[in-house]
């Protein structure tokens, strides 16, 4: 199973600290929810972990190898990354959009083989997109596009999945479906999933680990029940918060205001 680690990870633009001195070790089987207020540095942290921006100081390693030492195509085969509000610039059919996730392993010329097609079909089915297979991606609703993009990220069967707000724009049913799928990927298939999330109730119920980020610092790191309490949420989001444990002991409900 994959291992991801960071030490002294920092990123600054024009002497402004966006991410500051982040350190952790994480591995396959974990579903980590990244929480924190707007502008805390969540997205920047995710791009650093995905190897898409060079850290100012510190480093990230995958199975002991620094990200900077990995070839882009090799890294692309092992980790998938989805930015916030991903979009598609051409009206290509959904199944072709999903297939783009296979880019790192496809030859320069030629079409898909049977195995590629099987993977594409499976990703489309997993994200409930069968009805939209042939539809142009630019005509999808926001939530449908978010699902298509998730299928694009899942199709290559990555060992490390980094997603920035995968639940934005999803209706309750598809949000729950998505978060369950992310958890299953981690818990059942041994992948490492790191997702920035604003829906704290879903994060508390399904994530196996929570990272709280504030002003670029990793201020809390642990299992949801251990680290997420009213004082933490109050200091993170600067509003009064209450946390009620659910009757089944699996999750908790968060109330603000």
């Amino acid at each position: 199973m994959i291992r991801l680690a960071a030490e002294g990870l920092s990123f600054a633009i024009a002497r402004r600290r966006i991410v500051w001195n982040v350190a952790f070790e994480a591995g396959g089987g974990e579903f980590i929810a990244l929480i924190g207020p707007n502008g805390a540095g969540k997205s920047t942290l995710l791009t650093l972990l995905a190897g898409l921006a060079p850290p100012t100081v510190g480093r990230v390693t995958v199975d002991g190898t620094p990200l900077a030492a990995l070839k882009a195509a090799e890294l692309a085969r092992r980790r998938a990354y989805l930015p916030q509000n991903p979009r598609c610039d051409w009206p290509i059919p959904v199944e072709r959009l999903v297939a783009l996730g296979l880019t790192p392993s496809l030859p320069s010329f030629g079409d898909f083989d049977a195995e590629d097609r099987r993977r594409i079909d499976a990703a489309i089915a997993a994200c409930d997109l069968e009805a939209h297979r042939a539809q142009a991606a630019t005509t999808l609703s926001g939530g449908e596009l978010a699902r298509a993009m998730l299928a694009r990220a899942l199709v290559g069967d990555p060992h490390l999945l980094i997603v920035d707000e995968p639940l934005a724009g999803l209706d309750p049913r598809h949000a729950i479906d998505t978060v369950r799928r992310l958890r299953a990927l981690a818990v059942e298939e041994g992948r490492l999933v790191i997702a920035a999330m604003h829906d704290l109730n879903l994060a508390l119920r399904h994530a196996t680990r929570v990272w709280a980020v504030s002003s670029g610092n990793l201020v809390a790191d642990g299992s949801p029940r251990e680290v997420v309490d009213a004082p933490l949420l109050q200091s993170l989001f600067d509003v009064p918060a209450r946390v009620h444990a659910d009757a089944d002991g699996e999750g908790a409900r968060v109330e603000f205001g």
Binding site: A72, A80, P86, C88, D89, I92, L100, T103, P104
Partner: protein
């Protein structure tokens, strides 16, 4: 994933146009006479000369130049994700034109054989380097701005040459050359530019997967392992070779690079990679068709190819803008 037989149909159409291009012109050559003399010896020899020394290089040049323009347009539209991008975007065709114009202006064209295409090629490569240096380290927008500013500089140089032309004959030569044509080009010119166009097209043809990934934006393309600086370098080099060489022989032939990708894009589900081959064939077919058109129009003076493609292409461009206005939010 259904596929239409787009490539075979376009290839067949191109083959027909190529053959038609050999038979049309001021002098009508009966196919029988070309294929092996039934007439008198002198007539057959004349027919052979017209075919081999005039029409064959013309048709081949049209094929290669049109293919270069169509492919380059498709690649640049994919790179910039902008349907209005065209081969002149990087300033390379203006640079090639300026080089060629300098050869004519200085009189070098009259003294040294192939001076025009050689200086045109030099102009194309220098412009490519200039655009590359200016756009280095920046994103796509910086590259586009670098291209258009370099293009402006080259156009100003061309205007300067016309302004300062030593005699009316030189000015006439320059303006005629700038109008764009594939008529009366020699085998030597074709042999000089042909290999550059073929190598340039080969470079551009290999960008398909990267262009597909770019449909998702630069960040996602990079996450899929695409090396964007290397991709831009490859595209600039391919454009300098293919379009630079084409322009240095033919002069400016507008709209083909812009229009050809649009004619085929909807046939291949708008996928940037799958647009490349059809756009290449379509560019060649449109250029050959337009060139046949210049020969068939009953005018006293043969219309220049660049003028005809402009006359037909501009309305198409306007229609495109109107359609964008309707579909874009």
């Amino acid at each position: 994933m259904r596929t239409r037989p787009v490539v075979p149909v376009l290839a067949a159409a191109l083959a027909v146009l190529f053959v038609a291009s050999l038979f049309t012109g001021r002098v009508w050559l009966p196919p029988r006479e070309i294929l092996g003399g039934t007439g008198d010896a002198a007539g057959t020899e004349l027919a052979r000369l017209i075919l081999v020394e005039l029409r064959l290089p013309r048709a081949l040049l049209g094929l290669l130049a049109g293919a270069s323009l169509g492919l380059c347009g498709a690649v640049l539209q994919g790179l910039t994700r902008n349907p209005l991008a065209e081969p002149g975007l990087l300033g390379i065709s203006s640079g090639a034109a300026l080089g060629a114009v300098i050869a004519i202006y200085s009189g070098l064209a009259l003294e040294v054989p192939l001076a025009t295409p050689l200086l045109g090629l030099a102009g194309a490569f220098l412009t490519a380097l200039l655009t590359l240096a200016l756009g280095r380290g920046g994103g796509m927008l910086v590259l586009i701005l670098a291209g258009s500013s370099v293009s402006g500089l080259m156009l100003a140089g061309t205007a300067l040459a016309l302004n300062l032309a030593p005699n009316p004959y030189a000015a006439y030569e320059i303006s005629q050359w700038l109008l764009g044509s594939i008529a009366d080009k020699s085998w030597d010119q074709l042999a000089l530019a042909g290999p550059f166009m073929v190598i340039g097209c080969a470079l551009l043809m290999g960008t398909g997967r990267a262009l597909d990934a770019l449909a998702l934006g630069e960040l996602q393309a990079r996450s899929l392992g695409i090396d964007l600086p290397r991709l831009r370098l490859r595209i600039i080099a391919g454009t300098a070779l293919a379009v630079g060489a084409a322009t240095s022989i033919t002069g400016a032939i507008g709209f083909i690079g812009l229009v050809a990708p649009h004619l085929v894009r909807h046939l291949v589900d708008y996928e940037p990679r799958r647009v490349l081959v059809p756009a290449t064939l379509c560019g060649a077919a449109v250029l050959l068709a337009a060139d046949i058109g210049t020969r068939l129009l009953p005018l006293d003076q043969e219309l220049k190819l660049g003028v005809l493609t402009g006359l037909v292409g501009a309305p198409f461009f306007i229609a495109l803008v109107l359609r964008l206005k309707r579909t874009a939010p």
